[in-house]
């Protein structure tokens, strides 16, 4: 009941804001004695191709530390179309293929589609959308999965500051893998399915014309149908700080610092009775150089460290890669 009251309050709030904006607009029309004419909205279409090559010191993300070279191809398509003065439709499609030279089991193709509608109100922007991803392993069919989620967000641009609050709900469907049964060695006849809910708050700041900072805090809950120890059920709390700095007219420095705390609901450490808890740290730095308006190159380094009370899940990973990007 309380949730219904809360929902109707938010809905009435937006309706009243929208109505207020409409009344003001009508007043302006009378004053000018000039009818508002429709405006032809042009879609904004962008394509991008990127090629990467690099080395990963720990492709299996385990304490075995198997290193391998990789090559990656990325194609991105962005389509933005204004449907009316205050409503916009967005479509993003990405195709990503990553090939590992020796650990070929994890060579994969990723298709990602995002659809969204964004409406501008006087107080903020409201958006809803759907995100779909399909991962295919050509040499390891057991790993294929489909991930999809719906999301809703409130976004506000305050000039120097921008902030965003987003809620997500979805699922990760392992289409070629059956879920764990009562032990780690036995499987059910049904596919593994993880249900997810998440919420995040993000704030971005234009510190000066060259420096942009953003901070995001996120909560995520994963609820799997695996029976053994509710093996994949956890709560995760993630904080991330990102910065973009325009060092020269053509060179940008990029950095990301992320920390995630993951607490498993009932999964215990191997052969122990206490629950598994992970602290995951990630640092990424990179430089991007614009060769011209359509072409750029990049150099990227990522350090990841998972500190866990489960020794089998502790790992350190270093990835260095260089990329070439073309926009059209």
């Amino acid at each position: 009941m309380k949730y219904k009251v809360f929902f109707w309050f938010i809905l009435l709030f937006f309706i009243s804001s929208f109505s207020y904006a409409q009344v003001e607009q009508e007043k302006e029309e009378v004053k000018l004695a000039r009818p508002q004419e429709s405006y032809q909205f042009r879609p904004d279409i962008n394509h991008r191709i990127s090629l990467f090559s690099g080395y990963d010191t720990n492709v299996k993300l385990s304490n075995e530390r198997t290193g391998d070279m990789f090559e990656e191809f990325l194609y991105s398509f962005d389509y933005d179309q204004k449907l009316s003065a205050d409503l916009e439709f967005n479509l993003d499609y990405d195709f990503d293929y990553i090939n590992y030279n020796e650990v070929t089991d994890i060579t994969s193709l990723l298709n990602h589609l995002r659809l969204g509608l964004d409406k501008t109100f006087s107080l903020c922007n409201l958006g809803i959308g759907y995100d779909l991803g399909y991962l295919y392993y050509p040499k390891n069919k057991d790993g294929d999965f489909l991930i999809h989620k719906g999301f809703i967000y409130l976004e506000k641009d305050l000039g120097k500051f921008q902030h965003k609050l987003q809620f997500e709900a979805g699922s990760k469907d392992y289409i070629a893998q059956n879920t764990l049964s009562d032990t780690i060695s036995t499987r059910e006849s049904t596919e593994r399915l993880d249900r997810r809910i998440a919420a995040f708050y993000q704030i971005g700041i234009d510190v000066n014309p060259r420096l942009y900072l953003s901070f995001r805090t996120k909560f995520l809950r994963n609820d799997s149908n695996a029976r053994y120890l509710d093996f994949y059920d956890y709560n995760a709390y993630n904080q991330r700080l990102s910065l973009t700095y325009q060092a020269t007219k053509k060179a940008y420095l990029l950095a990301d610092f992320s920390y995630e705390r993951k607490e498993y609901k009932t999964r215990t450490v191997t052969n122990q009775s206490y629950k598994q808890e992970d602290d995951f740290y990630s640092v990424r730095t990179g430089i991007m150089y614009l060769l011209d308006k359509k072409t750029s190159i990049s150099l990227d380094y990522v350090y990841r460290y998972n500190s866990s009370n489960e020794p089998l899940d502790e790992y350190v990973e270093n990835v260095i890669s260089c990329g070439w990007h073309y926009y059209f």
Partner: protein, 256 residues
Amino acid sequence: MKKIFWFLFIFCFLFTGLGFAQTAKIIKLEGSVQIKKTETDNWQIATIGTYLKKEAEIKTKADSSCTLAFDKQLDNLITIEQNSHLKLEQVKPAELFLPEGRVFSIIDNLADIGEFKIKTPVAVSGVRGTGDSVESTEEGTTVKCFAGEIYVESLLKPQDPILGSGSGIKVSPTGQLGNIFGLSEDDWRMWNKFLAGINSMRGGPTPRPNGSPGLDRMKGERRDSIREDFFQQRRKDEEGRESSGSNGGSPNSIAR
């Protein structure tokens, strides 16, 4: 308690900075430019990156100019030329008052700002997704349309013609609308110079070497699934060793 927290959080989110939502940003300066942020403020030297709200004023001296952006994508821009004085009466919808001087504007996304008008002491010109210049002097107002369509409203006489691309009109100090005239080569040269400056500011690709945020999350899911698969196998092996009579407990496990 949690529900109250979320309710207050969303309430604050919606109302935060209500008065700050509508701003124009200074993105380029040349020469000597001064700004007044409110009616009661003193004149101060303008700096790039400053956000201006309604009632802000800008003054440019000789050989000086100031470019304002009304949106992040740089779709809607104006350049205030030398020896000009401009007041931002409203930012969104944009209503500017130009008592003296000249302004070039390019409005590629009218929907984003709702409406765009420049008023002078004798006329109002409004754009319909276009590029134009408006000049105000003691001898009246001159409006020139370089792209799209604009309307010109005389404040003193009830006439409001529409100018197409390549034409201009002069409004006398008494509000009398002159004949529509064609633009000269000099006019086009000044417009092209303004456009070149705008295009150089609009620049090239934004730095996002690893794709959209949505794609980044998908790649994170890929890494997670790889890690889980290999972990599950190792755990299965470890539990198998334990159940077949190894010493209890992993020697390196840590209790937290």
